[in-house]
Symmetry: C2
Subunit: 273 residues, 2 copies
């Protein structure tokens, strides 16, 4: 049985883009984990993407899988797309190529011209080649990223695309101090996402599946954390990296040790006990 | 400045090969770490390889980098090739797609028809497309792998290729109990490698560099552990994964925990202290 995989960045302009990524001179190591390398995208670069999603920054799962949005945030976003009938015609890029380190680094650098210019090259490359019907920003920095694209010379003269700015998928975890607060935040986020679904559903004219829209309830339900497609990951990637959650952690006794170290752990049940 | 990278398995027959790899039904999980996924190759698949090297099996660095022979064994083999003037016109494959687990698993399964058949598809794909001038086996199992290819129907009718069976690059570490023993073993291995160099140098007609052959001394010298080329690794791979040694370890209190866990640690000096 053939196992699909992502053929990667072999075609132009993507081959050129991934060989010309900004390094420490553009992304200061005080605010970005440049030491783990840039992570570029996930999804279709072959001209079949209908929805462009802009996320924020890669974390520990993403630098291991070398594709963005494979952790919790990514699975939640994948579930959002599924409710729109988009099961494979998507492409994800991030606001930042590297994980934001510490507090406020993202906000501090969202206007940096070198960061914006490279991100805009990706947006241009995708929009030039894919019949994108809608753009979604996950969180405030991604929203700014899209606005910075719209203000750029390369965006001039293009017809305007439907756009939704959604609450970031892990905002409930980052904003809540208690589990009760987290559950309230999830409900609030899903209300925001339901508005997004209602706005996007009618303007996505070429979905992969055509079931009627079912909005979220007050909490995530079964099916809202779908597996990542094998088509989205490099060949040979173990299945648990796309079907399981929480298989990579940062660990260390000191901030420096924690920054240096990622522990990858095959989830329980994959191996016989 | 453009950073070269490996464009991967986008062309046939490699795209098909990496989507049809043998899984647990062929590689029993009792003897192979199938849970980390297969790792296929390193080096040129574009028809420019002049030397085919067959290694043994991937370890922890390789499943993180998703290319084989990037750890100590790989760097030593890279240094061997450099002495032959081969700095980029090489391709590495392994005897096994997955890391051998426990004692004797490699020997037990070296004759398995499913394992051999898939490996032979890779050898055929490489020999059909690349002007290979010499084949090198690292260790006894790799030697058997090559003999099993020669005995296969797809090898019939081809002109015979110069072949060298070398001592496996980390045999000194795996055979010695003390550092003194290890140093003796290194000397013995380098004598074996010098025989290989002497045999191969005259029959490699298209080296990348043309310096005269300088044999090894009694120990590895500066330059014998060259960096892995960025061209050999996926785009975005941090430079320290190809320039530094020993950045991934298996860790766990129990055998199962150790099997489940790989700790990746950015080497000292990459991050400011």
């Amino acid at each position: 049985m053939a196992i699909p995989f992502d053929r990667g960045y072999y075609k132009q302009p993507f081959a050129k883009l991934v060989s010309e990524y900004p390094a420490e001179d553009i992304y200061p190591p005080a605010d970005f984990r440049v030491e783990w390398g840039p992570v570029f995208h996930r999804g279709r670069l072959d001209g079949s993407a209908r929805v462009l999603i802009i996320g924020q920054d890669p974390a520990q799962h993403e630098v291991v899988a070398r594709r963005i949005l494979v952790g919790t945030a990514g699975k939640r976003a994948q579930g959002f797309l599924r409710r729109l009938g988009i099961t494979r015609s998507y492409v994800f890029i991030n606001t930042f190529l590297y994980s934001v380190y510490g507090q406020g680094g993202g906000t501090r650098h969202i206007g940096d011209p070198g960061i914006t210019a490279y991100r805009n090259r990706w947006i241009k490359a995708i929009l030039d080649r894919s019949p994108i019907e809608a753009v979604v920003a996950l969180g405030g920095l991604a929203n700014t990223a899209w606005q910075n694209w719209l203000a750029s010379p390369d965006a001039a003269g293009r017809s305007s695309l439907p756009f939704q700015h959604l609450t970031h998928p892990t905002w409930p975890e980052s904003s809540a101090d208690t589990n009760a607060e987290r559950l309230v935040a999830v409900t609030k986020m899903l209300e925001n996402w339901n508005d997004g679904l209602a706005a996007l559903k009618p303007i996505i004219h070429h979905p992969d599946t055509t079931e009627p829209l079912v909005p979220y309830g007050t909490a995530f339900a079964a099916g809202d954390l779908p597996d990542i497609l094998p088509d989205d990951l490099p060949p040979g990637t173990p299945a648990w990296m796309r079907t399981e959650e929480g298989w990579a952690t940062r660990k260390g006794e000191t901030p420096l040790e924690k920054r240096r170290t990622i522990v990858v752990r095959v989830p329980k049940g994959v191996l016989p006990a």
